[in-house]
């Protein structure tokens, strides 16, 4: 993304020591660096500090859990990293790009090329089939119809949905819908996947299968940040960040 006005220099020098990396990612390059990130909302004339001076270093292949009570700022952090909201202060450097200085009109391109989203409520387009939902993400990247169909099919087959390609979301179980959502997040080969409560709506068996998918992806080098309430999910992640009243505790 050279026209985003961001240098592509290695962030190796800025990385911090991460001893808790369960997958042995210490030697991996830092894929994301969050520095003094803050978000303040105004409720009328009263400022509400949703996030205060958050600093996070994420390496390639990390499976990072963010935990915290409701209203602690987890989703705000995810929205800021995902460029869905603008930070009040601080920096987010993802894959060499300073997301906080990317012009508004280039943010969709950043989201397309660098970030994949997985939502608690799956957020699939109800009128499209599983295959078309996955293709949708590549459509905006101007991937040819043939290529996007092949990739979407391959991703869904890898996630065990080879026989559900043409089913609409309403015809799929919660777990299947979430796997379609994972396939969609992976479609554009993003540097980072952001998952907001991905197991919040599924039973324990499905939750375990989703975690298994995340771990496999992480081991293949895919960086994932998961916001969760579930300690069982956090336990399976390589690192856990706890957040309370907008403050991060690693």
């Amino acid at each position: 993304m050279p026209d985003a006005g961001i240098g592509g220099e290695s962030l190796e020098t800025k990385e911090k020591d991460e001893n808790k990396n369960r997958w042995g990612n210490e030697g991996q390059k830092v894929i994301m660096l969050v520095e003094n990130l803050s978000k303040t909302y105004m409720q009328g004339k009263i400022p509400v500090h949703a996030l205060r001076c958050a600093c996070i270093t994420v390496r390639k292949g990390d499976l990072l859990a963010i935990m915290g009570p409701s209203g602690s700022g987890k989703s705000t952090l995810l929205a800021l990293i995902g460029t869905l909201e603008k930070a009040t202060d601080g920096k987010i450097i993802l894959d060499g790009i300073d997301l906080t200085s990317v012009p508004e009109n280039l943010l969709p391109r950043v989201r397309r090329e660098k970030i994949g989203f997985i939502f608690q409520h799956y957020n699939l387009v109800p009128t499209l089939s599983a295959l078309e939902n996955v293709e949708l993400a590549m459509r905006f990247s101007k991937v040819t119809k043939k290529d996007r169909r092949e990739r979407a099919k391959s991703l869904l087959e890898d996630l065990g949905l080879g026989d559900r390609l043409n089913h609409k979301p309403a015809e799929l179980s919660g777990g299947e819908q979430q796997r379609v959502s994972i396939a969609r997040a992976l479609a554009n080969k993003p540097a980072l996947i952001l998952a907001d409560e991905p197991t919040g709506e599924v039973d324990t068996k499905t939750r375990d299968s989703i975690i298994r998918v995340f771990k496999e992806l992480s081991q293949k080098g895919q960086t994932i940040i998961v916001v969760t309430h579930d300690p069982e999910v956090a336990k399976e992640c390589s690192r856990v960040l706890r957040i309370r009243d907008g403050m991060i505790k690693d």
């Binding site: 929205a79 995902g82 869905l84 909201e85 009109n105 969709p108 391109r109 989201r111 397309r112 090329e113 989203f117 939502f119 957020n123 699939l124 387009v125 109800p126 009128t127 499209l128 949708l136 993400a137 905006f140 990247s141 969609r184 554009n188």
Partner: protein, 371 residues
């Protein structure tokens, strides 16, 4: 993108169908009213072109005021610059139908009939000649309706006339004209020596506008209409008619457009979350605009196509039905079809503009929070 647009329209079948019908109804009205206007326009233009080189002289008290007689012709001929002049008596052919069929009796001096009808040409036979009294030249529509040929007998006002000539098709009022000698017409309808108009033909080097004014000043009790004034008057009359007919069609189409806007606003509101998803996965503002505007325009296109098809069929049926009475009310022209389709697309696109703008300006985060 077109597949997504079509998918979104077909996913809301009933609502989309009703919206498309709304536009179709509006465009149907545009086609029907427009076809009526086009028919009048063409008839007007052709009729005026036939008399465009002549000055029309009528009684000061108007066409129906009477008072214009044959005697005035010689007065007109005395005015310097007048090359020729002749009176015409005009009356309805179907008195029992109040002239609704458009068929007219034209009483013309027989020796002037070729000049009076110029540039209309004969399809067969001849024009009226001096000495003709119960001879008739008929327009093309009259010929078809009464299955006439040169030599046929034709009954007018209880008298039998011999058809001596049949005019070529002109698309003007002359197609429905029955041309008989002036004196015969005056006797037949007990009009004494009255005429409806006097036509004055200016000399080649004379300015028709100036001559028109001169005739008005020289021949007492007359008003004149120069070729230019006639054109302006005709254009004004036609413009008023067009505005009334077409605006009623446009009004219906605008109402159809409002139904598109309503549908699109509902659709955008219902799909707020969907737009949030699209934005989160990287859709650009123009992608959302294109998608929403495309849906509205496509519905406009479908509504326009349907309206045009139904309109053309309806006009065809009505024209065919009226063919027995020889009344032609509608004329479909390529210009009308193009205008109707462009209008349907414009209505669709304009109606989709605001919903599309709203959809494209949504914050992805807010849209995703939408239930």
């Amino acid at each position: 993108m077109l597949d997504l647009i079509i998918r979104n329209i077909t996913n809301r079948k009933i609502r989309s169908a009703l919206t498309i019908c709304g536009i179709a109804l509006g465009i149907f009205a545009v086609i029907v009213m427009g076809a009526m206007s086009e028919n009048f326009n063409q008839t007007f233009e052709r009729s005026i072109s036939v008399t465009s080189d002549k000055i029309r002289i009528f009684s000061e008290s108007g066409v129906f005021g009477g008072g214009l007689t044959d005697d005035k012709v010689s007065d007109v001929l005395r005015v310097a610059g007048v090359k020729d002049a002749y009176g015409i008596l005009m009356t309805t052919f179907d008195e029992d139908k109040m002239g609704m069929t458009g068929k007219q009796i034209l009483g013309v001096p027989p020796e002037k009939s070729s000049v009076a009808l110029y540039p209309v040409e004969l399809k067969s036979g001849r024009f009226l000649n001096s000495g003709d009294s119960y001879s008739v030249v008929v327009g093309n529509s009259i010929k078809r309706e009464y299955n006439l040929q040169v030599g046929s007998k034709f009954e007018i006002h209880d008298k039998y006339f011999t058809v001596v000539g049949i005019l070529d098709y002109t698309g003007s009022i002359f197609d429905s004209a029955v041309i008989i000698p002036l004196k015969t017409a005056q006797n037949l309808y007990s009009m004494g020596n009255s005429v409806s108009y006097i036509f004055a033909v200016p000399d080649e080097r004379v300015d028709a506008e100036m001559l028109s004014k001169r005739i008005e000043l020289s021949v007492k009790g007359t008003s004149t209409l120069s070729p230019k004034e006639l054109e302006v008057q005709a254009e004004q009359s036609f413009m008023i008619f067009s505005v009334i007919t077409i605006s009623s069609g446009l009004l219906a189409a605008i109402i159809g457009g409002l139904s598109v806007m309503n549908t699109m606003l509902m659709s955008v509101s219902e799909r707020t979350r969907e737009f949030g998803i699209l934005k989160a996965i990287g859709a650009e503002t123009q992608d959302i605009l294109l998608l929403t505007l495309g849906e509205a325009s496509f519905m406009g296109f479908l509504g326009g196509t349907l309206g045009i098809i139904v309109g053309v069929v309806a006009v065809h049926i009505i024209n065919a039905w009226l063919a027995t009475t020889r009344i032609v009310l509608f004329m479909i022209t390529p210009r009308l079809l193009i205008i109707a389709m462009l209008f349907a697309l414009l209505i669709g696109a304009l109606s989709g503009l605001y919903p599309a703008y709203r959809a494209s300006k949504m914050s992805p985060m807010e849209a995703l929070k939408h239930a």
